[in-house]
């Protein structure tokens, strides 16, 4: 998977604390409603779905349509159950796939 998701986590967290997780990926999000420079009809090319997992279990899913901006971004809460791996996967038109992983460290 060539495309990356940038994942941002706090440097460390406590068990039971609610943290915010940010993720973004590069994507043009072409709506398909406009025209190309040569006047031909644009083809839709958007990210369609985001799935975020923690140690393999889903913690957020997003269905994406054309109204989401270029380079999709999300910031969402997560109640820390312990240390683990946060993984983002975006999928979209034309076989688009982007992946990013970051480890959540827990104090004490």
């Amino acid at each position: 998977m060539a495309n990356k998701v940038r994942v941002k986590l706090p440097k460390s967290a406590k068990v039971g604390e609610i943290i915010f997780i940010k993720g973004t990926t590069k994507h043009p999000m072409v709506t398909g409603f406009g025209k190309n420079e040569d006047g031909s009809a644009q083809e839709r090319n958007i990210a369609r779905e985001l799935v975020v997992t923690f140690n393999g279990a889903e913690i957020l899913r997003q269905k994406i349509d054309t109204g989401i901006s270029t380079n999709p971004f999300v910031n969402f809460p997560f109640k820390v159950p312990g240390p683990g791996a946060v993984e983002f996967t975006y999928k979209g038109d034309n076989g688009f796939e982007a992946y990013g992983k970051k480890d959540l460290k827990v104090e004490g």
């Binding site: 609610i18 709506t31 409603f33 406009g34 923690f54 279990a57 889903e58 913690i59 957020l60 899913r61 997003q62 269905k63 994406i64 349509d65 054309t66 109204g67 989401i68 901006s69 270029t70 999709p72 971004f73 999300v74 910031n75 969402f76 809460p77 997560f78 109640k79 159950p81």
Partner: protein
């Protein structure tokens, strides 16, 4: 599109596409939408689809967006839904609906007690000045809706 005689049926874009109509027919409908864009982008039908026609409460949910967006191509939004986020009482879905973009359905987030609080921030496109709706579906099926108006100085292309 469902066929009815002497009767106008409102068909949302999503259900329309689900019927697997031909591309030609789809283009014809898209053309019609452009003409009707000033009237409606079908957001009423989208709200109907998301809520199942049930009543929505306006308490316990806030939608925060800038009052004025200079650039409609990327407008941040934050939805906060009051919820204990326990196993039997949590925010299950948060959906965003545009009342003036080409496509009324913007996005839906699926959440769970693992999130701890019912809150989400992301960025959306606004083609023009409009009302934006946030609809939350609770785990017990209750619905909440918030609305805010955003004035757009430069349209965000054709979201």
């Amino acid at each position: 599109m469902s066929k009815t005689e002497n009767k106008i049926t409102i068909v949302s874009r999503r259900s329309f596409i689900k019927t697997g109509a031909s591309a030609a027919a789809a283009l014809a409908v898209l053309g019609a939408w452009t003409d009707e864009a000033l009237a409606s982008n079908g957001w009423e039908a989208m709200v109907e689809e998301l809520t199942g026609g049930a009543e929505t409460a306006d308490a316990g949910i806030t939608l925060t967006m800038p009052e004025v967006a200079e650039d409609g191509s990327t407008v941040p939004f934050t939805v906060k839904v009051d919820s204990a986020m326990t196993d039997d009482d949590y925010v299950a879905e948060i959906s965003m609906v545009s009342t003036a973009n080409h496509q009324s359905n913007v996005t839906t987030f699926y959440m769970s007690p693992a999130n701890g609080v019912g809150e989400i921030t992301a960025k959306m496109r606004l083609g023009s000045t409009q009302d934006v709706l946030a609809i939350a579906k609770m785990s017990n099926g209750d619905l909440r809706m918030a609305k805010t108006n955003v004035r757009v100085t430069v349209g965000g292309c054709t979201g």
